[in-house]
Amino acid sequence: MTGAVASSVTAPVGTTRLTSAPAADFATHLATFGPLPTSNPAVLLSALHDSGLEGRGGGAFPAWRKLAAVPGRERARGRRVVVIGNAAEGEPLSSKDATLLTVAPHLVIDGLLAVAESLNGTATYLYVRSSVLGAVSRALGERRDARKIELREAADSFVSGEASAVVSALAGRRPVPQDRPFLLTESGLAGRPTLLHNVETLAHIALIARFGPAWFRSRGTASDPGTRLVTVTGGGRPSTVIEIGGGAGLNDVFRFAGIDPAGLSGVLVGGFHGAWVPASAGNVRLDREDLARFGATPGAGILMGQDARHCPLTVASAIATYLAGETAGQCGPCVNGLSAMASVLSRLARGERDPSLPAELRRLADLVTGRGSCHYPDGTARFVLSTLTVFDADVRAHLAGTCRKEHS
């Protein structure tokens, strides 16, 4: 068991962890968090297991299980394992990964090195948006142990962060999802076992390696331990990134971000592929258990408040149209189905009083689900269905021609 607290520094208290260093440079990083302890694979694996850390890129896959998934026999054969820190962050409502790489790049680098070291003899990549290339390359240049990390610019599209799309991009092919018969942990980049972690996940790993799983779990809830970064938008304000304890109340998070939750009719949790939580549900906790009844998960921590004065169907229709335009253009049911859904939703949003529209939307959502080479159509269908369910009163008002909300 680890739990050994780095001796020269004290572990961050409160919910300000990832963002607790006063500056982004390496010296400040070391002064704040202490050096990264050398990790023994078994110790790191068990610390991650006990921490309950889940992926922060949206998939919420237990971090330890990804490590454990790299086949032991591959490692034994000395095959080079590839580890990728993923900050493609293609979701337009999210900016927490870019923010993290700007304020605490060294935690991400530490996490990447810790994972790579525990799998020994690896190739490492950081896949980041163009806006933070400078900040990350500066950070990499500040330390000798990061010389082998390859920094690559992420493609600018919604699907660019999908695991197989990242691998495809790094291999020099189109940055789109692949239909693949093997797991990436068995055969990914150049046929090597490949492990992708979201950069926030890596930053948490860097802290767990230092301060241990019990410290990690001292914030958050049992089903969402630790802290997480969230990007909050709404109320006409520019988006803000904040670090919160897992399972924080949605209304509290909005208040903390300076947005009055009383002015919202609902919150879109999880971004454009997420689901709505109606305002009537009260101060719902941002953890898996509490969100499950809405079909939502904390995902990548994306929260968009819907202004109660504005028509949610108009907003949803704009999102569906955007999503239809962002498919990777590869799979027939996805390409055709999403544009059909977007057009039906826009007819409804514009006030066409055809009572068959909601049923047609449901039929199309059902038709595209599971019928793509990635989960893009599934996420889009989930969003559309959630819109119909949570804003049922608005749907009925549109069909009756009585919606009085603002439609811009």
């Binding site: 789109v176 027939g332 996805c334 055709n336 189905g337 038709l367 689900t369 599971g370 080479s373």
Partner: protein
């Protein structure tokens, strides 16, 4: 004991939706609004369960698919 399940996997990145497979395997596959194969088993998505007696026809569809978009994964 449930019988081993064989699956017909559709690679949507390759399929062009002309529907040859749906003619060879009408019991398994219908066509959707745009012509793409649609599993008759609800919720099957990209991996369509194939009963034992249809395995030959499924292999034929794999061999004849002009885009090599089909793969048969035999249940073991």
């Amino acid at each position: 004991m449930t019988a081993p399940r064989s699956l017909l996997h559709i690679d949507w990145t390759a399929c062009d939706g002309r529907g040859l497979c749906t003619e060879i395997l009408p019991e398994l596959l219908a066509r959707d609004d745009w012509g793409y194969p649609l599993a008759r088993t609800r919720g099957a998505g990209s991996d369509v369960p194939v009963q034992e007696r249809l395995l030959d026809a499924a292999s034929e569809a794999v061999a004849l698919c002009p885009r090599q978009a089909l793969r048969l994964v035999l249940g073991t």
